[in-house]
Every structure is written in C-alpha cells, then in structure tokens.
C-alpha cells in the first residue's frame, strides 16, 4: 500500500505552494524547513517586479495558511537526514535542531529579544541589521517562536546571563533541549530548497568586503524594506548618508566561466531594475546607473517595466566595469568600457550594488546524497530532461521545484511547485477526504439576548506594558450585554483557548470579543476556538488594541487606555448585532475542460487523467500538438519536437479518462466553480464540468511589412526557416543567412512585449543551419541576447564558440534598414564600434517575429476572465503568487495563453495548472463564503446598478429582480452601498452593525 503522504523540503514560496496544493487535496504533508521560520527568500524582498507589489503582503497570507493547515505538519529548524525505501513507500528521517525554546510554550511575544544583551549580525538582513542571540528572524515569522543561537548566547559561551529565562512569562526557555530525529512514512518527496546568494568577496576588483559602500542586491533590498534595519531609508554603510548616485553591476558571479558560474541567474536584470526604479520613484534626486551586458527583461510585462524605469531616469549603461576603487569620502569610482564606442569611461557613485549570482543552496550536495539524486555540474538538482521533464529528478518519486533545479523568478517557481505537486498526486493513492469532526452548532437566533464575553489580551507586556488592562476588563463588564470579562497573558496560547471555552460554557456566552492584536492574523484562530464549543464562528469580533493602539501610542498610557476602551466598546456594539452565518457547500463535478490541444493542454490533460479525473480536451483544429508541429528541435536541449509531440499524443490517446474533441469550438460556458455547463458550436450535447484550464497558446503574427517581408522570397520568418530545416534543404545557393531579432516585438507601441523565445529560436536555428550546411555564413543581429533559462547561456556560448555564428548588436533607435531591389535584398546596420554602416546582401533574411495570443476575447467573455493589456494574452489572478489561477475560482491558465514562453516553462505551467484545477475536484465540495450579498426581493426595483458594479458577474437580473449568485460573490459590499433601495444586505458588515459601531465611538455618557 502506497502512502498518501509527501515530504516537502524547503518552505520558501515554492515549498509553501507545493505543500498547499497537496494538503488542499487531502494529502498529508511533512514540510521541513532548515531555518527558524518559513517564508524563504521572498520574505526578505521589499517589492516584487513588475507590479511593485509588497512582497510580504502577498507572501504572509500563504505563510499563515501553511502554518494553520490541518494536513501540513511543519518541521521548522529541521533537516532531512535520511531517505530509505522507494516511490510510494519512503521512510524519511527528520532531524529537529534544538531551539532551546519550547515550541509549545513560546508565544513569540518578543520580551526575551529585548532583554537579551548579546547583539549579532542578522542573517535575515544579510548583515545590514542586528539581531539578538535569542531571536525571531523577522516580525512576520511563522512559526512565531524564538530561537537561541548557541554560538552567540552568553549562557552557552560563558555560562552567564539567563535573562531570557528570567523574563519569559511563558516559561519556554530550555537550555537542556537536545536534537531529535523523527521518522515519517511518505510516498513521494518534493525538493524545494531554493538558493543562496553569492557573497562576492572573491571578486575583489569591485571591493566587496573591503569598501564599505559596496553591497549586494539582497542587502540593498533590506535597506529598501520598510520593515528592514533602516526602515526603508537608503543609508549607505560608510556614513549613513543617502547617496546621490547608486550603481548596479549585473552578472557578478554569473555568465562567466572564469569568474564564477557559467549560467545566467535569470532574475538579476529585473531585480536591479526594480531596485533602481523604486529608489528613483521614492526619491527623484537619486541617479541610478545599471551596468549590464544584456538586459534580460524576458517575462510577462518585464519589457514594459524596463522601459518605464528608463523613462523615469534609470540610466542603463552597456558595459561591465573592470574595476572599482574607493574615494576618500567613501564614494566608489568605476572604470568601464563603453561597448558602443569602445571608450574607457569613469563614473563615481555613492553606493555600489552588486547583482550577485544566484547560487545553488549550499546544502544541495549533502541533501542530494541523502536523497540519492543527481545534481548538475553547477550544483543545482538535475532534472531528467530540461525541456520535457523539468520536475523529475533522477530518483523515481522525488520531484524538483523552484530554484532547487535552476534559478527562477517567483511566478516560475510557483508554477513549477504546482507542477511538482501534480506529479505527486499522479503517483500516489487518492487520499480520503476526512470529514471534519465538528460538534453540533448551538442555535443562536437574533431574538436571543446577546451574552458577550470580552477577553483582554496582555500579550506579555506588548499590551499590558502600555495601558491599564485591568481597567479595560473592568470597563468592558460595564457595557450592555457583556456577561463576562477577563484578562489573558497571551490570548493566542493554548491555555487561553481553554479559558475562553470554559467561560463560554460556564457563563452561557453566545458572542465573544477578543481585544488583542489584529484580526488579519488571529481571527481564524479564535473563530476555530469558539466553534469547538458550538458557537458559530461569525459570532466573534476582535478589537485591535495592540497593532493599532499600544504599539503606536506607547508613550501615552492614558490615551492608549482611552482608545482601547473605545475600540472594545465599538466591538461590543457590533457584536450585539452579529448573526450566525451558514456557509453553503457546493458540489464539484469531477471533470475538467482543457481548452487547447497544444503541448500545454496535452500536459494538463495527462496530469489530470493520471490522477483519475475525467478530462475533455478541446482542440479547434484537426490535430493535437499546436505550434510544436511546426518546429524541428526544442531549445535548449535540442530534443526532437516531432518526437515529443508524438510521444505526448500517444500518452493522451492511451488515457481512457481523456476525451479528445478535435475540430471543436466552444459556443458558451455558463455556471461557476464546480458546476459549469459547456456547449459547442454545432453540437446539441452540453457538458457538465467542474473546473476549466485555458491553454489556448499563441500564434505567429502576420509579418507583412516588417523589414519588407512579403516583397522578396528571400525574406522569411524563423518558422519558415524551420520548415526548410525540417525538409533538410536550404534554397539553392544559400551562402549567407542573416537573422534579425525582435522583428515586430519590443516596440514603443503595439507589441511592446518581449517574445521570450526569439533569442533561443535564433540560436537553435543558427546551430541547425551550421550543422546542415557548415559552409554557410551565419549572422545574428540582436538587441539583447536573452538566454536566461537553464542551459541557455551555455547554449549561447556554444553557438558563439563552436558553430561559427557571428553576432552583431543593434539598437532600437538605430534599427537595421532593409531594401529589396529585384532579386537583391540589402540590409544596412550601423556598427557602433566601427562607427560606420555595414551592408549585407544575404541569401536569406530570417525575421524573428513574436507570437501573440489567439483571438480569445470570446473565451475571455464566456469565462468572465480578464485579458492583459497587450498581446492578446490572458491576465492571471496575481502576477507573482497566483500565475496559474484566474481571479475567478475554478478557472486556470497555462502556457503561451498566459504569455509567450518556451516549452520547459510551458510544461511546468501546464502540469501546475492541472494541480490547481484538481484541488476542488479532490475536495468534492467547496465551501461557499458566508459573507456574500443577499438581495431583499421585496425592496429590489430591478434597476441593475448592482449588476453593473459587480466585478465578478455575481449579480443578475431575473424576472425584474436582482439575484445574487453566492458562489461568485466575493463579499466586497460595493453593491450594498450603491443600492438605491437599501435592498442588498452584506452579512457581517450590515448597515446596522456598522452604524452601531459608529455610534459607539463616542461615549455620550462620558464614561471613557
């Protein structure tokens, strides 16, 4: 019997996503994280490109979800030290390192941190800030538990101090703690160990470690972060002054065999752009300079982001500084060669930031040995095939995701995490969804007199240290309907839950108010607590007297106490009117519709079918395989495209669960998650569908007019060249081939985006030509060589060095000019180095044109999902952490329908989308939200204002009256406050409840 459980190693965003995808399907997840908190590298970032979203704001909810998930067992500060057995039946050994803090007792109040006298460099801040010997790595850490750094603790090093023991009110310190090894049975393993950052001290020419004002990009990130050591103020280490000029040097430790690593680190061009752009936006007097070799803005909306950075004054200089030296005032002077002119130039900056390489995690080598899997020549985990099997390791049942396999940005890591979890769901037995053991709910109607209990949290000293909590508890008891009040040392601790439950039972309470921290992190915990004694979870409210009171008025005890009383009074006023709410359940059809039969759609379909899910694979043409049918080989591993298509089609056809529908076009899609109804043009039968994957891919643009395309048969596209290569024949007399990049892409208007695959296509086809006809002169005219993926930079170097291909750069402002004169095609391009025009008369001029999304507006409107601004691509729910979801539940996207991408990334996304689409189907039922609009038909006049305002299409007019679709409503309440008749009620935020809160702010009786 195989185990329906899985080991996930590493709890950065990749490990978190993989764990949630599996846990949500009912698998038991053992999530092992070597550091004290989950969150990984993403937790350190200030903003994320290309949306400038706050990194922590998007990550933190996922961290909370992970730590609270009933199917995830978290082993933080732990390492995997053994893996025996085989796929389906592994035995993993997990070593729990001693924190010297008892996890069950520590509440994370932080008192010990304040009292610890031993200050050391913070790893989380990469040495830019300090922490104590007993520490919580960052404010939002999860689990929120202190850890003692034995090497720095005075008790362990000198046998003195013991402040933490003295001041810990929870009695959580245990100097005697020992390491523990636990053994768990798992069916599969996902490796999500992330990456390390190069601390580039070996690159002495830039003076890192020697000159104070030379730092790494991740250190700069900590300086930028509002919660970082300088609270977001850019202060250079030399004199804590704000620099006037800041320089970034790209590819430090990357793209160089001689000086580091041969591969491209994939994210540096964009993070440097982000850092420079955000800095400049924040302070327009700072001048940012980015020194780069090729600006690799390859992803969705990256190019536009890069352009925006240029527009607001980020200076991009193509050239790699040769040396840096320190001025007396701490400034750094750089010497570099301007690659346009060949001149040696000089620039002095106040702060130098090194965009240092992404390295394989230092622990990879040892872990690879423990797991019995291969690592590659660079130290990343080795996949079985770069293009077609990026998630598979060399050992069956062990899968790879995120930067453990190769450097990646967040969305690509998240997609691959979902992909790896789909591979796990495919090979392990479907877990039984355990019915939750819930005690019966006590019926509380609005007629029952409210009996409210108020619990005031002291939060150690975080609250009690700044206000009079006893006074607050006493005051609370004087408020109408409050039958009980108490103070708690830590309202969130286990013993406090017991106290709350006991009070509910003894005093017969039917509503609870907790005055503590913020509902955004803790509401769910208390809701679960009251539910355990039968109280509906919506009969709960929180007064935020810590984050929004004592912490921000810590110098004014009187004001803080007064405010806290008002906050509790408001909470009690609202609570009196709270109503028990029911969450409806929606049954989910056990089938998925996959739209598009290309490599993306096929991979989604197979992954779903292998998990036992019925799939309808819809293709509008008469053939599966999509654009791959027209390719010869695939970049960068040169595997045969046709063979991959054939093998994949074979797998599709072998699956009984997949119904392939060729020559089929959608007519209509109606319904919502779990219950879609789909009809096809010319067919009567309608399908009942649970979830939908959009994999419509992209198509080549019409190149007519671009570089005189259409005027000579010598001017062709890459796909047309590919056709010739497939046939093994170039036109007779072909001696010279010229390829031009970005033909019709990266424009100022229209197709502003980078086509992402063009550079690879040029390299691959150039290599193929050189093999087919070695005597051909091949030139590649390019703007930036964007060979960013695993194995791609190495491929580029190989084509440069071993295939006789010549490379020539051109600028957007100075594009090549093409003329056609009879049979003669002439291309003129300005060579900056020579300072003169060069003319070519190629036998073939190959245009590297972009693809664009299929004309999919009809699908978008059927599904009520948005499209991106450019290129006809679909717009996902969140650019960073939800790349495969739409904002609409139950609908997912993958492959080139999302944005142009190569096959390796497409496969990861496609399999990942299958994982996402399988979640509701595994769950069989999805919980409807309770906070959803409710229309009073008596009052409704059918004006339709709510319909026009609802962004989710949840409101419809039926028979002259509005109706709210509870499955689609997200509970924003915009409709309720716009309804001319006050006919729409938003439960939990009703007009009455909010009005009572307003009226309670000021106590007319003068009590507080």
């Amino acid at each position: 019997m195989k185990e329906s459980s899985v080991l996930v190693i590493g709890a950065g965003i990749t490990g978190i996503q993989a764990s949630l995808d599996l846990a949500d399907k009912g698998f038991s997840v053992y999530l092992v994280e070597k550091s004290p908190s989950i969150g990984g590298a993403m937790a350190k970032l200030d903003k994320t490109f290309p949306t400038n979203d706050c990194s922590m704001c998007t990550l933190a909810p996922k961290m909370v979800e992970t730590s609270r998930h009933p199917n995830i067992k978290l082993y933080s500060y732990s390492e995997v030290v053994g893996l025996d057995g085989k796929v389906g039946n592994f035995k993993a050994k997990i070593l729990k390192k001693p924190r010297y803090v008892i996890e069950d007792k520590c509440t994370g109040c932080g008192t010990c941190l304040e009292k610890c006298p031993s200050k050391v460099d913070s790893e989380f801040d990469h040495g830019m800030g300090k922490r104590r010997a007993i520490y919580i790595p960052f404010e939002q850490a999860s689990p929120l538990i202190a850890t003692i750094d034995k090497d720095k603790c005075l008790h362990f090093t000198k046998g003195i101090c013991g402040n933490c023991v003295k001041f810990c009110l929870a009695d959580a310190i245990d100097f005697e703690q020992q390491e523990v090894i636990e053994e768990v049975n798992v069916g599969a393993v996902i490796v999500a160990t992330g990456y390390d950052v190069l601390e580039p001290d070996m690159r002495t020419e830039y003076g890192y470690g020697k000159y104070k004002n030379v730092i790494t990009a991740i250190q700069y990130e900590r300086l930028m972060s509002a919660s970082g050591p300088t609270r977001g103020h850019i202060k250079r280490p030399f004199d804590e002054k704000e620099p006037k000029k800041i320089g970034w040097i790209q590819c430090v430790g990357s793209r160089s065999n001689r000086l580091g690593n041969p591969y491209c680190s994939r994210v540096c061009c964009m993070y440097a752009t982000k850092e420079a752009l955000v800095t400049r936006e924040h302070n327009p007097t700072i001048e940012p300079y980015i020194f780069y070799m090729d600006l690799r803005a390859y992803g969705k909306e990256f190019e536009e982001y890069y352009n925006k950075a240029g527009e607001i004054g980020v200076n991009y200089i193509r050239g790699r500084p040769a040396e840096a030296f320190e001025e007396e005032n701490g400034d750094i002077t750089l010497r570099y060669e301007d690659t346009y002119t060949g001149d040696i130039k000089q620039e002095t900056v106040g702060l130098l930031v090194l965009s240092s390489a992404i390295l394989p995690a230092a622990s990879n080598k040892a872990l690879a040995e423990v797991l019995g899997v291969d690592i590659d020549e660079n130290g990343f985990f080795r996949e079985t095939e770069i293009v077609s099997a990026p998630m598979e390791s060399s050992r069956s049942g062990v899968f790879l995701a995120g930067c453990s396999q190769a450097p990646k940005d967040i969305p690509d890591s998240v997609a691959q995490a979902s992909g790896a979890s789909a591979r796990v769901m495919d090979i392990l037995p479907k877990p039984e969804i355990k019915p939750k053991k819930e005690i019966e709910e006590i019926i509380i109607s609005s007629d029952d007199e409210p009996r409210i209990g108020v619990f005031v949290c002291k939060c150690g000293k975080n609250i009690a240290g700044y206000m009079d909590v006893d006074d607050l508890a006493k005051y609370s008891l004087s408020l109408p309907n409050v039958e009980h009040s108490d103070t708690l040392m830590f309202a969130c601790s286990q013993d406090a839950q017991l106290k709350i439950k006991t009070a509910i039972k003894e005093k017969n309470l039917n509503r609870v108010v907790v005055a503590a921290c913020t509902p955004r992190t803790h509401e769910g915990l208390f809701q679960d607590t009251i539910r355990e004694v039968g109280i509906n979870k919506y009969l709960f409210d929180m007064a935020n007297i810590r984050n929004q009171c004592t912490w921000v008025h810590s110098h004014d005890e009187v004001a803080a106490t007064k405010k806290a009383k008002e906050l509790v009074r408001m909470s009690v006023a609202k609570s009196r009117l709270l109503e028990a709410l029911g969450q409806g359940e929606i049954d989910v059809e056990g089938s998925t519709l996959v739209i598009g039969g290309g490599i993306a759609g096929m991979n989604s379909a197979i992954a779903l079918a292998e998990a036992g899910i019925k799939v309808y694979l819809v293709e509008k043409t008469d053939k599966l395989g999509g654009i791959l049918n027209r390719l010869t080989t695939l970049y960068p591993s040169d595997i045969d495209a046709g063979k991959l298509v054939d093998e994949t089609v074979k797998l599709v056809n072998a699956q009984k669960k997949i119904k392939v529908m060729l020559n089929s076009e959608l007519e209509d899609i109606s319904g919502y998650i779990g219950n879609y109804e789909v009809s096809f043009k010319g067919k009567d039968k309608k399908l009942k569908i649970g979830t939908i994957i959009v994999a419509t891919g992209s198509e080549e643009i019409d190149p007519t007019g671009i570089y005189e395309y259409g005027k000579s048969k010598k001017i062709i596209t890459q796909l047309e060249l590919e056709e010739m290569l497939k046939n093994g024949k170039l036109p007779k007399g072909t001696k010279e081939i010229l390829m031009v990049s970005c033909a019709g892409s990266r424009e100022d208007t229209g197709r502003t985006y980078c086509c992402r695959v063009g550079c690879g296509t040029m390299l691959r086809n150039a290599k193929a030509v050189s093999k087919l006809a070695p005597d051909t002169n091949i030139f590649i005219l390019f703007r930036d060589m964007r060979s960013f993926g695993k194995g791609e930079e190495e491929y580029y170097v190989d084509v440069q060095e071993n295939h006789g291909v010549k490379f020539l750069r051109y600028e957007k402002a100075d594009k090549p000019r093409v003329t056609v004169d009879g049979d003669k095609v002439t291309l003129t391009v300005h060579d900056m180095l020579l300072g003169e025009d060069i003319e070519f008369e190629p036998d073939l001029l190959v245009l590297t044109t972009p693809t664009e999304g299929h004309k999919s507006e009809d699908i978008a409107s059927m599904l009520k999902v948005p499209m991106s601004k450019v290129g006809g691509f679909f717009l996902e729910a969140h650019a960073k952490i939800r790349p495969l979801d739409f904002a609409t539940d139950g609908v997912y996207v993958c492959g080139s329908a999302h944005s142009p991408k190569g096959v390796a990334d497409t496969v990861a996304q496609a399999v990942g989308a299958a994982s996402r689409a399988a979640v509701p189907i595994f769950q069989k039922k999805v919980k409807g939200d309770a906070i959803v609009s409710d229309v009073d038909e008596e009052k409704c006049i059918g004006c339709g204002i709510c319909v026009s305002l609802c962004p989710y299409g949840a409101m419809i007019i039926d028979d002259g009256k509005s109706q709210s679709n509870k499955a689609l409503c997200k509970g924003c309440g915009t409709c309720a406050s716009a309804c001319p008749q006050f006919a729409i009620k938003m439960p939990h935020y009703t007009d009455n409840q909010i009005t009572e809160q307003i009226r309670a702010v000021i106590d007319k009786a003068g009590g507080a």
């Binding site: 200030d46 903003k47 706050c54 704001c57 404010e139 939002q140 509002a226 919660s227 609270r231 977001g232 913020t518 509902p519 955004r520 935020n544 810590r546 984050n547 929004q548 009171c549 912490w551 921000v552 008025h553 810590s554 110098h555 004014d556 004001a559 803080a560 007064k562 405010k563 008002e566 906050l567 408001m570 904002a887 906070i931 006049i941 004006c943 339709g944 204002i945 026009s948 305002l949 962004p951 997200k970 509970g971 924003c972 309440g973 915009t974 309720a976 406050s977 716009a978 309804c979 001319p980 008749q981 935020y989 007009d991 909010i994 009005t995 809160q997 307003i998 009226r999 702010v1001 000021i1002």
Partner: protein, 248 residues
C-alpha cells in the same frame, strides 16, 4: 471647567481589510507612533462605505471622517475603490454647496506595505481637524438635510449609475457629474421644504419660500414633483394660495 481644555478631535476612518487596515497593522509592527485620535472601522472593501456612514459619523460626535482604501489598480475587489472615490467626490461637492467645510472629509490610499504612510496620513488629518476645531453645532441641521438627500433613491440611482453611464459612453464624465450635482442640490432643497412643512404642519408656497429661501418658481417645480410622488398633498387654500401638508 475652570480652564479651556485643548481640543482633541474625534475622527472616524473606514478602512478596507486588504490594504489600509493592513497598513495600519504594519505601522504597529513597525512601532511607528502617531496621534491617538482616529478610530478605524474595518470593512472588506472601501466600496462598502455607504455615503450615509460618513454623515452618521459626524452626527455622532466625529469631527472628521475619512476613508482609506487601496491605491487604484490594487483593489482586492478590482474596482471598489473607484466607486467609493465617486461617492466621496459628490459628498465633498455637497458639503461645499451647503457651506460645510469639505476638509472634514478625506479619502486616501494606503497600501499594506505603507505603515509609515498610514501614520503620516493619520497625523496630517488629525492636525487638519484640530485646526478646524470641533464640529460646529450648526452643521447638524445641514447634515440632516444631506442625509435625507443621500438616502433618497433618486440621488442614489444617479450616483450608482455613474460607472454604467461612463462605460456605455453615452455621456461625458464632466456633464454627468454636473447633472448628478444638480439633482443632489434639488434633493437637498426638497429636504428643506419637507422640513419646513413638517415644522409648520401646513404651508403655502410663499410661506415655504420665505422659510427655505428657495425662489418661488423653482419651488413650484419641487412642489409639483413632491405632490406627484405623493409626499405632499393639498389641504385647502389661504390668501389665494394652496396650502400643502405632508401626506401620510
């Protein structure tokens, strides 16, 4: 009271759950100190803020009211903040019309990562209201009129239809806003009329004009509409003018 106490304003702020409330939490975790005068009321989206909530707040002791939401483009619910902005714009216009200081109302955008900005916004608004002083007692009567107007379905229909009107592109934004503004003014006048009529039980047009300051011609149009809507009815004659009273 022997000495005049320093005025400390009461301020009520409506915050959305996802951005501004989170920003306030972050100000807390970052221990940024700010003025203790503001009370937050959390709603899921700033689009939930019913225009009457703002008036309710000022009627119940607040000296200033603000709405804090997500920056445009960041709204968790895509477009709720645009809706609340429209409502606030109208409210501010009507405040001006009524001679109320629109600076007592504020709308600002604070993201989940802007703890420092949140504190700044609180401090700035608190300073501003402190400068303006306590809400004058004479505000209350006008607020009552305004509340009546904004609760009425006529104005609500026009306000709620703004997005639809723009999207269908049949009317320019400026003209629509102007028309809405005119309707709002009319509604406020009607509230005034009803208030006068209720106070005196029954009145003639010249009497109402005298009491409300609305010129007679304009008043006639209001009376016509109010009788058609069955809010007013005639109750005899006086000095060659009809007498009007509230219809039950």
């Amino acid at each position: 009271m022997a000495e005049e106490e320093k005025f400390e304003p009461n301020i009520i702020a409506f915050t959305c759950n996802w951005c501004s409330y989170a920003g306030a939490d972050l100000a807390g975790t970052s221990r940024i100190q700010y003025a203790p005068n503001m009370r937050l009321i959390r709603v899921m989206c700033s689009g939930r803020v019913e225009p009457t909530f703002m008036i309710e707040a000022l009627q119940n002791g607040a000296d200033g009211v603000c709405i804090l939401g997500c920056h445009f483009g960041d709204c968790h619910y895509i477009s709720g903040n645009y809706e609340t902005k429209r409502r606030m714009d109208l409210m501010k216009d009507l405040f001006k019309d009524l001679g109320l200081d629109e600076n007592r109302l504020m709308i600002e955008w604070v993201s989940a990562s802007e703890g420092e900005r949140f504190a700044q916004v609180v401090n700035d608004f608190t300073d501003k209201i402190r400068e303006l002083g306590p809400l004058p007692e004479e505000y209350q009567q006008k607020l009552k009129l305004l509340k009546g107007a904004i609760e009425g379905s006529r104005l609500r229909i026009v306000l709620g239809s703004t997005k639809r009107a723009f999207e269908e592109g049949e009317i320019e934004e400026e003209r629509y806003v102007q028309a809405m503004h005119d309707i709002a003014k009319e509604e406020i006048e009607r509230m005034k009329i009803m208030e006068a009529v209720d106070k005196n039980k029954s009145m003639t047009v010249p009497e109402i004009s005298e009491a409300t300051g609305i010129d007679k011609l304009r008043l006639w149009r209001h009376i016509l509409s109010l009788t058609q809507k069955l809010v007013l009815e005639t109750a005899g004659e006086k000095d060659n003018y009809m007498i009007y009273q509230r219809r039950d």
